[in-house]
Amino acid sequence: MSLRLRLLLLIGVSLSLLWGGVTAWTLYNLDRQIRNTLDQRLSMSAQMVAGLISQNAAAWDAAAKGNKRDTLLLPAGKGLACQISSLRGEVLARTAHTHPDATRSEALGFTDLTINKEQWRSYTTEAFGLRVTTADRLSERNQMLHDVLFATTLPFMVALVGSLLLLWFGVKQGLLPLEKIRQALAGQAPLTLSPLSTQHIPKDLLPLVSSLNQLLSRIEQTLERERQLTSDAAHELRTPLTAIKIHLQVARITEGEEAKTALDYAEESVARLQHTLTQLLTLAQIEGDFCWDDGQSTSANEILKLAIRDAAPQQPERVQLGAIATAQLALPQALAVTALRNLLDNALNYSPANSVVRVETQRLESAMCFSIIDQGPGLQPAELALVTQRFWRRSSTKGSGLGLSIVAAIAKRFNGKLELSQHENGGIKATLHLPIQR
């Protein structure tokens, strides 16, 4: 449900209930008051007639005693009747044009009658030997009641409709800044995210807009990085592919030794392509949610042995091990071996042939620290900052440029740490912290 609809429903229903309740209450009270007032008027008019007669009782007495008198007919208003009779029941006077039954009453006080499908309400009183009855036609009474009630209800209804209209307009205007933000977000091109304008935005929405802008800029950076990565990856895959293609074409148009050399080069290019693809896949798996848990216990000692066997199968003597601290590592064996092997690979490949690479370990409180120190030419401080970037490498022909990215990704995934620094002997000191089981 939209915010606007919620607001409209919430306030609109509350307003309608409130106004409706007040109107109903007013109408109920008014109805009762008017009926009482009209009844009072009926009884007062009967008593007034009786009072008037009492002023000239002698004339009425004579009239009452005379036997052969015609009934006196009184003029009367529409819907109103009156009858004066003797206590014996003889009608002395009554209003003209009204049905005689309307004022024929047996009991004193108020009575409701139905005559010729018309409803009457009458009041009878006795005074000075006369019985006076006055009656109202109820349809007249109800008509008047309706008129009064309608006149009272109308302003309430107009006010209610007016409030609802104002409410609709107010909510629409009030939510306009939100609508503007929505439009600005919906109008973002998928490839270029631009920050939202903070002009004409109410103060209480500013935190929201600035959070949105921060998010947008983070997404933009991620997108840019991904674009760069895709372009780099395309370049990295195209280069060996180009070499494969050209050597195969050369092999086709040449013969003998030349063709054989071309095929050898093509095979070497395939091997490089395969290496790059494997590294990319490993990196994607480490950074993705691939499950690595192989359930194997991973002692630091064993991992080092495996990594050295993988990195220097021909010359294990080039790796010089210091004292190995014992610890169980809290990460899958395959990844720990990959990380250490990549560091050893770099150390062995980028230092003089037959030079020694030193490996030291140290057990810290919550991590195992592996230090790998080579005797190579080292790196410039600017280069040190770049080494873990994907596809970065010193010369464009050696390696895939992903080895250290993989180590850094493994360290990041398991809350470890990778640091590279210039060692005092000129080589590189790589320090890898891996978490240990407690």
Partner: protein, 221 residues
């Protein structure tokens, strides 16, 4: 045709060199922008093939610098950068052609020939002088409609002389067309090729200008 290849990936450079040599080109390759500049300063070559991602400098920066130095030879950019922006920028900065990796060897060869004949002011591959016809792209030579069998170097020598028309080419210039840096040249190699050409096409085909070099002399009508 002599080509200078600037490519830092060893495997690709090997492949292009082998492929172009198989198509009768003379190829030298260097692996950096600095080496390319040094080579251009000393070498007589007809076309430059330039990779953009060089280790010491981006090829995109090297391009305008070469043009500013007054180097007019055709430059073909050979790169994996496939965006329209890169293509436009390279062409605007002085490249004459742009080819994407991975490419077909045949296409590279055809483009190099196209660049070459445009520089020579021709619009077809055929070099003609009366009854003598030479097609540098296919390597076919004919005299009076009769095909003549020439070796790769004889072919390159004849093409260089015919393209130069009346200009005199020195022995050094001619050797540059025939041999790349990696090849060992015997002292009389050029004379041997000239001897063979004269034997196959007539003695007046190449004039020897004493102390200066050689000139195309034409064929007997």
């Amino acid at each position: 045709m002599r080509v200078l290849l600037v490519e830092d990936n060893e495997l690709i450079a090997h492949g292009i060199k082998a492929g172009l040599r198989a198509h009768q080109f003379t190829v030298d390759s260097v692996a950096s922008a600095a080496m390319a500049e040094a080579a251009l300063a000393t070498l007589n070559c007809d076309v430059l093939i330039l990779d953009l991602g060089l280790p010491d400098e981006d090829g995109m920066k090297l391009l305008p610098r070469l043009r500013a130095k007054g180097i007019v030879l055709p430059i073909l950019v050979l790169t994996a950068r496939d965006s329209v922006k890169d293509k436009v920028m390279a062409l605007q900065r002085g490249a004459d052609d742009y080819l994407l990796k991975p490419f077909d060897l045949d296409e590279l060869v055809a483009r190099l020939h196209a660049l070459q004949r445009r520089v020579a002011g021709r619009c077809v591959d055929l070099i003609e002088d009366g009854p003598l016809k030479l097609n540098p792209a296919t390597g076919n030579v004919s005299l009076n409609e009769q095909p003549i069998a020439l070796s790769r170097r004889e072919m390159a020598l004849l093409a260089a002389l015919m393209q130069a028309k009346d200009r005199i080419l020195s022995a050094e210039q001619l050797k540059d067309r025939l041999y790349d840096f990696s090849e060992e040249i015997e002292s009389n190699a050029l004379n041997v090729h000239i001897y063979h050409l004269r034997r196959k096409l007539g003695g007046e085909i190449i004039e020897t200008i004493r102390g200066m070099g050689y000139r195309y002399g034409g064929v007997k009508q």
